[in-house]
């Protein structure tokens, strides 16, 4: 039996090595693919196959970026957008997770909150922007509210879903050991939600970033979205692309960070290849 397990472990590490090789190869291919795209873009722009005023070019964007990161206003805008996103997103997590978990656990609480959650879920949150701006003004608060609203739903829904898919066998086993409701909640329900929550948070990040930008585009006095608008009015496409790039990179970094957290939290899960 023990010998069998050793063999099992060995073959497992072999599989892991193979997987690593495969991953490295895909990484190279992805890198080349991006490089080719940038090259094509540059060539198309320089030869004016497409109007450079519309699409700018990688080199021009890089030059604009170098200029912009030396501007005070750029960092001011970053700070404002970052603040709006962080506060709105933190609120979505702090309020969304408990509401989702408790509504999945307690049917009465679910009956109270579910009409609102289901109703608002299908409402395009950006449609609420005009109202939000009237109520909260064109400052950061209105953006915090829209970030919260858009990030809240993926998080709440993922928590609810996690509670609905609890392993009843585990709960039954716990009950035979005389477990009370609180113990079942703490030792089974809560840990079960982690993978679902991380997924909800991932979706929430995407939604939250959209919310910041759309909110600022709609009405604002500062922020990346504000910068995009003013650059757009001056037809500075290169500067606009820098703004877009900043948002993209932020999204990538946040998702990457989440991946690290996910790995830490779910070392108990069989890795099903990514």
């Amino acid at each position: 039996m023990t010998q069998g397990n050793i063999q099992f472990a060995q073959s497992e590490s072999k599989i892991k090595k193979k997987k690593l090789k495969k991953q490295n190869k895909s990484l190279v291919i992805s890198f080349v693919s991006v490089l080719m795209f940038l090259l094509l873009w540059e060539i198309a722009s320089q030869n004016e196959w497409v109007n450079p005023l519309f699409v700018s070019s990688p080199i021009k964007i890089a030059q604009a970026a170098v200029v912009m990161i030396q501007e005070v206003s750029f960092w001011e805008n970053m700070k404002v957008s970052g603040y709006e996103f962080v506060v709105g997103f933190a609120l979505a997590i702090v309020i969304g997770i408990p509401i989702g978990v408790f509504s999945g656990w307690n049917t009465n609480f679910n009956a109270v909150v579910n009409p609102f959650i289901s109703g608002l879920y299908v409402t395009p949150k950006v449609a609420l922007l005009p109202v939000i701006v009237i109520v909260f003004g064109i400052g950061p608060v209105s953006k915090i509210v829209i970030v919260f609203l858009m990030a809240f739903f993926p998080i709440v829904m993922s928590a609810q879903k996690a509670m609905l898919t609890l392993d009843q066998n585990l709960i039954k086993a716990a009950r035979t050991f005389n477990a009370n409701e609180y113990q079942i909640f703490k030792t089974i329900a809560l840990p079960s939600t982690v993978p679902f929550l991380l997924n909800g948070i991932r979706l929430g990040i995407g939604q939250g970033l959209i919310a910041v930008v759309v909110g600022e585009l709609f009405a604002s006095t500062a922020g990346i979205g504000y910068q995009l608008t003013s650059n757009g009015q001056n037809l500075q496409t290169d500067r606009m692309f820098v703004g877009i790039l900043v948002i993209t990179i932020t999204g990538l970094i946040l998702t990457l960070l989440l991946g690290v957290i996910e790995k830490r939290f779910s070392s108990w899960k069989p890795d099903i290849g990514s």
Binding site: M1, D167, T176, T187, W268
Partner: protein, 270 residues
């Protein structure tokens, strides 16, 4: 039919035990168990066999306290069973381990729920892990273990709460034939070391005969005890026992009882 035993050393006794399920929608009642009467002695290994749907799981769930009798009662050490308690532990057909806990933490989970976690218990848990043959796997996660190994964790978890009655509901039925035979031998070894009174459910007759001091044959519709067979094969038993004429005769005998019962019911089992 009542099976009377001398009162001394009685561990578990059921008195006219009836369990009915009530359908939530229609309100219709299904009698899953009808007038179960028997006594089990301290340290006995009892196997329950019977066609699927005859109420074996229902019976075990009632003993462990997840279900309440609709009539009659179950006495454990002369005390009426009323809900789950620290004196019983169950091993399920599916291992039901917490995937995010290590083997050691899973084995300690029962004690944790009973709020009896201590350094001594941790030590005991490690000893049971060794007893079930998983020394060195304390920090592994369930998904890293085979089905048979997971069932060992399940067993170690039950043993660590130090129950006076061990309940096992088809614990080996999900394992392949070879692992299953191996685990049967292992279980007997562990049982002889711990001397726990055990109630083991199976639908495999040879498994029951191999393990048990006595085999209770259940019949279906309603679930009840049809017969009780004494297994006189001496212990310690090893897998060679399964080829002895005595063993084969007992298996055949139980087969014929179940067959007769099934034909009476108007359906053929298997």
């Amino acid at each position: 039919m009542a099976i009377t035993e001398s009162i001394q050393n009685v561990k578990l006794s059921t008195r006219f035990l009836n369990v009915t399920y009530v359908n939530n929608k229609t309100g219709a009642e299904v009698t899953a168990l009808e007038n179960i009467n028997f006594d089990i002695k301290d340290g006995e290994f009892i196997c329950i066999v019977g066609p699927s749907g005859c109420g074996k799981t229902t019976f075990l769930n009632t003993v462990v306290g997840l279900l309440k009798p609709s009539k009659g009662e179950i006495l454990l050490d002369q005390k009426k069973i009323d809900g789950p308690g620290n004196d019983r532990a169950m091993v399920f057909q599916n291992p039901s381990l917490l995937p995010w806990k290590t083997v050691l933490d899973n084995v300690l989970y029962g004690v944790e729920l009973q709020k009896l976690l201590s350094e001594d218990k941790k030590q005991e848990a490690k000893e049971f892990i060794e007893m079930v043959g998983l020394k060195g796997y304390e920090n592994h996660y369930p998904h890293e273990l085979s089905g048979g190994m997971q069932q060992r964790v399940n067993l170690a978890r039950a043993l660590t709460v130090n129950p006076s009655l061990l309940l096992l509901d088809e614990p080996f039925s999900a394992l392949d034939a070879q692992t299953r035979e191996f685990m049967q031998g292992e279980l007997l070894r562990i049982w002889s070391e711990t001397k726990k009174t055990s109630l083991f459910i199976t639908h495999q007759i040879d498994e029951a005969v191999f393990l048990a001091d006595r085999v209770f044959v259940f019949g279906a519709r309603p679930g009840r005890v049809v017969d009780v067979i004494n297994v006189t094969i001496p212990r310690p038993r090893d897998l060679h026992v399964k080829r002895s004429p005595e063993f084969i005769n007992l298996v055949d005998h139980i087969w014929s009882i179940i067959e007769k019962e099934s034909s009476k019911q108007g359906f053929v089992n298997k």
